[in-house]
């Protein structure tokens, strides 16, 4: 089983669109949406409803006002600006669950309990199995949830005998991205030919180099700026990344999305053709 992760650095470059099309082309496969912060892949894959499992990402501290003596020790030891005085309170969204206030409180007035941070499920979809998670709004520890979802998706892929696990990643280069990298066979970076697209691509590329992960570039909306497309491809080739081709700007992409279908599922559009070509190129690279 091979794991293919779609990343971008910059948000909104077309990760989910590419991941959906790859899932269709790799079917039967397991697909996991690792962008648990703003999960969207389920919209075009319409997985069957499933019983969702709870995810507890960590603990949260809260002050019991009946026991609090207002000594201010919690405020003194908290490094996350989560405690406010008069009456003493802990902000649920600022608390990072370190527990330092809990064991430093001389009155034993601080409770520390597991917080529900999200839910996850694996269920059938039209291309195989879909693993999806949802982080509670304003919750923490998306990295832990991504790691959990990935472990479950790998198990499902191995159990089903699927050839491919397609992973739709998060934007950025922080903890949810780091958590999605473990064990992947290839990363496909979907980048757009813009000054900011190049900047964000290079930051992600450096991370992937650091982690020694086999990586490929797929340029989206390449015809928006031909010079930038060439610059991106040169930079990628210089880093030893494979080139999977160019997707043109194509109004058919949004039209397909509005029908809640994967690219190329209902009709052939220029972008769909480019993504299919990219998938064939990636597949032959991975089967070498």
């Amino acid at each position: 089983m091979k794991q293919v992760l779609i990343l971008s650095g910059k948000g909104g470059t077309g990760k989910t669109t590419v991941a959906g099309a790859f899932a269709r082309l790799a079917a039967p496969c397991v697909v996991a949406d690792c962008d648990v912060d703003a999960a969207d892949l389920h919209i075009i894959l319409s997985p069957e409803p499933a019983v969702r499992q709870d995810f507890h990402g960590g603990k949260k501290a809260s002050i019991d006002p009946s026991k609090c003596t207002a000594c201010g020790r919690c405020l003194q030891v908290c490094r996350f600006d989560a405690v406010t005085a008069g009456p003493f309170k802990i902000s649920e969204t600022s608390c990072e669950g370190c527990g330092v206030c809990v064991w430093n409180c001389p009155a034993g007035a601080i409770n520390f309990s597991e917080a529900l941070s999200g839910t996850w499920a694996i269920s059938p979809c039209r291309y195989g199995a879909f693993a999806g998670a949802r982080l509670e709004p304003a919750a923490e520890n998306s990295g832990k949830l991504v790691a959990l979802l990935k472990t479950e998706a790998v198990k499902a892929a191995e159990a089903s005998g699927a050839e491919y696990l397609i992973l739709d990643g998060s934007p950025g280069i922080g903890c949810p991205v780091l958590a999605s990298l473990g064990g992947v066979d290839a990363v496909v970076i979907v980048a757009e030919p813009t000054v900011s697209g190049r900047h964000d691509f290079l930051r992600l590329a450096e991370l992937l180099k650091q982690q020694k992960i086999k990586s490929f570039l797929l340029v989206n909306k390449w015809d928006l700026n031909i010079e930038e497309t060439e610059t991106l491809e040169k930079a990628a080739a210089g880093l030893g990344f494979g080139l999977l081709g160019r997707i043109p700007f194509d109004p058919g992409v949004v039209k397909t999305l509005l029908m809640r279908k994967t690219l190329g599922e209902t009709c052939a559009t220029p972008a769909a053709g480019a993504v299919e070509k990219a998938w064939r190129a990636l597949r032959s690279e991975l089967e070498k």
Partner: protein, 279 residues
């Protein structure tokens, strides 16, 4: 007024709008780029950088000679960043959240802290417009501390625009926290709407008033508009898809370079928000 610009979904036009708005407001205002994983505002605003400082976070420094192997550090660490092997502590510093718990807990006072480089902070200006951004070091897991540090640079007076990271979890929350108002930028597609709902839920939870700008409003469908009517979410501006703007953007220019007429619309929108807050 402190105005945060966020979106849930990435790539909807946060940075474009933040830069164009800051440029329209001009001297006396400030722009803080808090998308420290992928900071792009400087590419569009081309500020004169006046200072660049290293940003670091404290991580434990264990003096092996003083350690008696009590293991209190391992016990109190909620992040599994310190583990004892054969009675000796071993630090996994990428797991550390810099809470300082182990320092307080060690009965032998064998733990102090050292600075772990986590990024850079830059300060500058664009003809009188204050600029600051944070650049997280590649490989660092959490942008939150750096985001908080960049926000502290906001000048005491004048309007402040904060460009926020995508998503709805800790990076976004910490960038938005403390803002007077949050402007959400989205696009009218099923993905845009789904992420907008999450962003709205998040802002409701942390009690920050908000309104919406719909970007490329003519490329999608009407579901976002309908949802906004149903939920009484105010739409302050609709920007059509414009190949000229997209091309200018690809070259690192804001929409004002090709469509200067947006300047007035942006300032008008800003004043509507300000007045709404006063009322």
């Amino acid at each position: 007024m402190k105005l945060a610009i966020a979106s849930g979904k990435g790539g909807t036009g946060k940075t474009s709008l933040a830069c164009a708005l800051a440029r329209a407001l001009g001297p006396g205002a400030a722009l803080l780029d808090c998308d420290v994983e992928e900071p792009d505002c400087a590419l569009f605003l081309k500020p004169v950088i006046e200072s660049e400082t290293d940003f670091s976070v404290p991580v434990p420094l264990i003096a092996p000679a003083k350690c008696k192997g009590h293991g209190r550090c391992q016990e109190v660490c909620e992040y599994n960043a310190i583990k004892l092997f054969n009675g000796k502590p071993f630090l996994f510093d990428h797991m550390c959240h810099s809470c300082g718990g182990c320092v307080l807990a060690c009965p032998e006072k064998a733990i102090t802290e050292k600075a772990h480089p986590a990024g850079k902070i830059r300060r500058g200006q664009i003809s009188g417009l204050f600029f600051a951004d944070g650049i997280m070091n590649i490989g660092e897991p959490s942008p939150v501390r750096l985001i908080k540090a960049v926000k502290k640079l906001a000048p005491a007076s004048g309007d402040v625009i904060i460009d926020c990271p995508p998503g709805t979890s800790c990076p976004m929350i910490n960038a938005v926290a403390g803002a007077d108002f949050c402007l959400l930028v989205s696009e009218p597609t099923p993905f845009g709407l789904s992420d907008l709902k999450l962003a709205v839920e998040t802002l409701e939870k942390i009690n920050i008033p908000y309104a919406l700008v719909i970007n490329r409003y003519d490329l999608g469908d009407k579901e976002m508009e309908n949802w906004c009517v149903e939920k009484s979410v105010k739409i302050l501006l609709r920007i059509p898809f414009d190949r000229e703007i997209a091309t200018a953007y690809s070259h690192g220019e804001t929409m004002l370079e090709v469509r200067p007429e947006y300047s007035q619309a942006l300032i008008a929108m800003f004043n509507v928000i300000k007045e709404g807050l006063r009322a």
